[in-house]
Amino acid sequence: MTQEHFDRTIDRDQRIEPRDWMPDAYRTTMVRQIAQHAHSEIIGMQPEGEWITRAPSLRRKAILLAKVQDEAGHGLYLYSAAETLGADRTGLTEKLISGRQKYSSIFNYPTLSFADVGVIGWLVDGAAICNQVPLCRSSYGPYARAMIRICKEESFHQRQGYELLMALMRGTDAQREMVQDSVNRWWWPSLMMFGPPDADSTHTAQSMAWKIKRHTNDELRQRFVDMTVPQAEALGVTLPDPDLRWNADRGHHDFGEIDWSELKRVISGDGPCNAERIDVRRTAHEDGAWVREAAAAHAAKQTAAPSSKQIAERAERRP
């Protein structure tokens, strides 16, 4: 198990597995990538989670609650994938709340109306899927396999988001205005989700060589724009970019210049909700410490804690 074996595995488009030899830099990069993704799932629960208790129909409430629950589940199996590389969840969580590891900058924007739930599903999950589908072919096996399941669920969420927006666009004027306002606020941040332009992307070349990244940021961004324009037309909303138009020569849509200074600001911690998002996560982690300690203390006292079955059996013996 050496560099030669690693290189050959990559060349043949096969998977690197946890016990295989891998370069330290590959391991470090994978931990960073997977942890950042896991953190994004967990922090990403907040903007939409704020609307669960206020969802305006029981059906929408159930859909939203199930979606946010899925995100917790994604976070769990991504942390597990990172653990196959020797990281541990507690350590990664501490890096998140101390700001040493990042999460997707999109979750630092506020959700101001219920339409944001639909627009996040459509645009943010849509952009995430464009980024993530190629990761189902990541060279690191546990991550690639986790991504297959995640992408399936994300697709489901995107459809549900779009379906909510269709319902709102068929509704009252106020509902339609709510959707347009939301699209105006989320469109540009969604484009920023693909990261800096290729010319400025520091990690792209090595990641492409290692096959842990399959397309450049700009390729994926273009794909997202091309996919979204007809969906916006079908919905009846205007994407807030006067320079957005079909370019027959390129066979793609041209679009306006992204405000990269805004992305830099948000990434560096100065977005509208950075402090709040981390604060909620830190508070949950700290407030939960006594609960985790209690569970560990109880487990240590019991060589075998009573199983669910045992509890159920005891309950059955009631008079």
Partner: protein
């Protein structure tokens, strides 16, 4: 290209039924015969389903409030799961309440356009969450009591209610189990967790009086084989609680006296009004809108 199986699948026009399932159903009782059997007072049946439905709706709301605040990720998933189960039960029961009443209100009319005095949930469900021990002990009490009721409702003379109960029993058995395991962990865990759990138990115990106080509608319908008289489930509740509290090394408080007025009569605490203000805020800001 091979790039995009999942991407392709979402970009094309999928058959809507492929994805609008699970939690996303529109009519909770679609395809079900909702006629009320002869001899059953439909107004009483509607009021009774409202009681059980409101219990589930309000308890679910309190569990939803834990979202993003749970002590660990496994618990985020578990609490959301329990909240979803109860929300599903609420949707079925409120829909049954609507089909049995003259006005024929839909689930959302009942959830979003009634005020606190019209809600029929027990007060235990509406109490604020408190810390994790408080929420856990409350869930243990709620689920133990509800499971005992649902178990007996599987033979209700109303076939719709019986079917809802049969589905819900499996869910609430898991809720009770989950809460019992956590109560034991917390009670037996550290000095701090023991003290917090005992404090929660002492604070919540007086609310058990209400659980076994039968409302007139419950008594009347129980006599007809439609409902359960809640005073009949006290023994089961006590047996289960005793077992769990013993394992958790917790001291059971003195029996609570029966309550003389309660949520079943629409008498609620201030926290319910606050809860409803939040739950109903968007729906009421857009009267007549569909979502």
């Amino acid at each position: 290209m091979a790039f995009d199986n999942a991407l392709g699948a979402i970009a094309e026009d999928n058959d809507e039924t492929r994805w609008a399932f699970g939690t996303g159903f529109h009519d909770p009782l679609a395809g079900i015969d909702t006629s009320v059997p002869d001899g059953i007072d439909r107004h009483a049946l509607s009021a009774y389903c409202l009681m059980l439905g409101d219990d589930a709706l309000i308890m679910s709301h309190r569990l939803q409030e834990w979202c993003t605040h749970a002590p660990e990720l496994e618990e985020e998933v578990a609490l959301a799961n329990i909240a979803l189960d109860l929300l599903g039960q609420a949707r079925l029961l409120l829909s049954r309440a609507g089909t049995a009443e003259d006005a024929g209100r839909a689930e959302d009319d009942l959830a979003y356009f009634r005020n606190a005095p019209e809600f029929r949930n027990i007060v235990l469900a509406e109490l604020p969450n408190g810390d994790f021990a408080h929420s856990t002990v409350r869930l243990l009490m709620f689920a133990t009591w509800r499971l005992a009721l649902l178990d007996r409702l599987t033979t209700s003379r109303d076939p719709v209610l019986a079917a809802i109960a049969a589905k819900s029993v499996k869910e609430v058995a898991y809720h009770r189990d989950h809460a019992a395991l956590w109560t034991i962990r917390l009670g037996d865990g550290t000095d701090l967790s023991h003290a917090r759990t005992q404090r929660a138990l002492d604070a919540l115990w007086p609310h058990t009086g209400e659980l076994f106080t039968a409302h007139k509608i419950e008594r009347d319908l129980a006599a007809m084989g439609v409902a359960v008289d809640p005073s009949d489930v006290r023994e089961e509740f006590d047996t289960v609680l005793d077992e769990v509290l013993t394992k958790a090394t917790l001291r059971r408080p003195a029996p609570a006296p029966p309550a003389n007025s309660a949520g079943r009569d629409g008498k609620h605490s201030t926290p319910l009004s606050d809860l409803l203000a939040e739950l109903q805020s968007v729906a009421r800001a857009h009267p007549g809108a569909t979502w």
